[in-house]
């Protein structure tokens, strides 16, 4: 059942679980719980497909380093940001959950907690396989390894792929054009009792449920919690960490490399196969140097000027062996930064609610990761006799690398992977959500999505988000069964 709230108020809604947000995480949770027989209300702020009018509500302020507008990185419609997803998938590495050197105590879960959900998450995303061994380099480089990325081909658009299933499932009610504007907190229990959603056209609904799941996407989840805190005396999530440790993947051109005798040290970024082999950091180098994880790939360039430059610093004989080259690109993990923050702007949307203010901050540690990623590749070229690397001056200088962005025109400084802001923790004093993605302060409110990430690794996050959504569904199943 799909109901457009813009066409009228559906009346009071009662469900076992109210899922707010119809993107990858929200649809995954809704359908998983529905198959177990629970009544699920899925409330989507946008329409069935992206529209300019709906995107207007995602406008906000970018005040930090992020060069992607907040109304362009996210899509407010059924299917959410899967509507512009590129289909890249990879699990987080096991050590990503234990980067105590980056995030204090590390995640409260491990890779083994998510492993049981890998195959199903891959199937939901349309990836035929997402498992394969990462391999050491043939040259036994201890700091770099080959890894594999997997692709959904074509990328799964969740509204198109699962709209019919949502409509046909009798115990799921989907409510479109329904922007959740308030939450009612039970003062005695501290639990969420109901949420209210409105359409600009005048329709509204109130949904009462035993459990509530925020699945609006990282930025909107945080904005919603901040707005609810404002309405409820700060009691929805009193953690001072709410909105903090916002992370993106650093997406940067590190330099250009010249290769010798037909060597191909990196895959091109514009023609990935499935799976595609990349070079990436090893755990060893990350821990030894305190770096964010990184992976490397290349883009084509005209090598004439590059060889001219190389000729100025090495022998002509060496240069005569150069047969090609490329631009070195990297996707890197950002070190969690408390000052990197999602908050509320002073400007309101059409519902009179504060728009979001995004302040993505990077620091010298991130610049260090970018520089070391380049240096490790350059050393690899030398050790393996493959070629030489010229490092971009801004990366070499190690300061404000993203302000000197020089990558492909279509590859901005931030990768569009919005993570953190409600990070998981072992204790309430160290985060916003517990190991089951439940808000510490509110017994029946959960987060599905990237906001709970404590560190990001270098992997594109959608696969992990889907694994987490499946695991959350099982947690809700357990709680619903036990009353």
């Amino acid at each position: 059942m799909i109901i457009d709230v813009a066409k009228g108020s559906p009346g009071p809604v009662t469900a076992d679980v109210c899922v707010m947000g119809g993107g990858v995480a929200g649809i995954t949770v809704a359908l998983r719980l529905a198959t177990k027989g629970y009544r699920v209300a899925l409330i989507e702020a946008g329409p069935a497909a992206p529209s300019t009018a709906s995107q207007e509500f995602y406008k906000g302020e970018n005040v930090g380093t992020e060069n992607l507008r907040v109304d362009e990185t996210r899509l407010r419609a059924l299917g959410g940001s899967s509507n512009h997803w590129g289909g890249w998938c990879r699990e987080l590495d096991a050590y990503d959950f234990n980067r105590t050197d980056l995030s204090g105590r590390g995640w409260p879960i491990s890779s083994s907690d998510l492993a049981p959900y890998l195959d199903q998450a891959a199937a939901i995303l349309g990836v035929s396989s997402a498992t394969g061994a990462d391999l050491p380099l043939a040259s036994s480089d201890e700091n770099l390894q080959t890894i594999q990325m997997y692709f959904a081909v074509p990328p799964t658009r969740f509204g198109e792929r699962y709209g019919a299933a949502l409509s046909a499932t009798p115990n799921v009610g989907v409510f479109l054009n329904a922007a959740v504007t308030s939450a009612e907190r039970d003062a005695d229990t501290g639990r969420i009792a109901a949420v209210t959603a409105r359409s600009l056209a005048g329709g509204s609904l109130t949904c009462r449920a035993r459990f509530f799941v925020l699945a609006f996407g990282t930025v909107e989840n945080i904005r919603t919690l901040l707005l609810w805190n404002r309405l409820n005396g700060g009691l929805i999530s009193p953690s001072d960490d709410l909105g903090r440790y916002y992370m993106q993947h650093l997406h940067q051109a590190l330099g250009e490399f010249a290769t010798i005798d037909g060597a191909t040290p990196l895959p091109p970024s514009n023609s990935p196969g499935n799976p595609t082999v990349f070079l990436a950091s090893t755990e060893k180098v990350l821990r030894e140097k305190g770096l964010g994880a990184f992976r490397l790939y290349s883009a084509e360039i005209n090598c004439d000027a590059l060889v001219d430059s190389l000729r100025g610093v090495v022998s002509g004989a060496f240069c005569s062996a150069v047969t090609g080259g490329g631009r070195l690109l990297a996707t890197c993990e950002q070190r969690p930064n408390r000052d990197s923050r999602i908050s509320l702007a002073a400007v309101d949307d059409a519902f009179g609610q504060s728009r979001v203010r995004l302040d993505w901050e990077i620091d010298t540690g991130d610049a260090h990761t970018l520089l070391e990623a380049g240096l490790e590749f350059g050393r690899y070229l030398i050790r393996s006799g493959l070629g030489r690397l010229r490092i971009n001056p801004d990366v070499l200088a190690g300061g404000e690398p993203l302000r000197g962005w020089t990558a492909l025109p279509s590859a901005p400084g931030a990768a569009g992977h919005q993570l953190g802001g409600a990070r998981m923790s072992r204790e309430p004093s160290d985060g916003v959500t517990d190991s089951n993605c439940r808000l510490w302060a509110t017994g029946n409110l959960y987060i599905a999505g990237g906001a709970v990430f404590r560190t990001s690794g270098h992997a594109n996050p959608t696969l992990t988000i889907t694994q987490l959504a499946l695991r959350l569904s099982d947690e809700l199943d357990r709680r619903l069964m036990t009353g």
Partner: protein, 68 residues
């Protein structure tokens, strides 16, 4: 790295084309292996580098005067 705008969607500004050419893992790995084993590896402990005009070079690269 996240993706392309869907038809009718607002411009995302994001990158990452979906895969267009299927190339097997083996061929990708093989390319790396073949390229690597063609040259003698220098152990990390023995590698000494210098940076000249942005180029990361082995110290032995610059034993010969530039441009010669």
């Amino acid at each position: 790295m996240s993706g392309n705008s869907a038809s009718g969607a607002p411009r995302s500004g994001l990158s990452s084309a979906p895969p267009v050419n299927r190339r097997s893992l083996l061929s990708g790995t093989a390319a790396l292996v073949v390229a690597s084993v063609s040259f003698t590896r220098r152990p990390t402990s023995e590698l000494r580098t210098v940076i000249v005009d942005g180029w990361l070079l082995a110290s032995t690269d610059v034993a010969t005067p530039p441009g010669k």
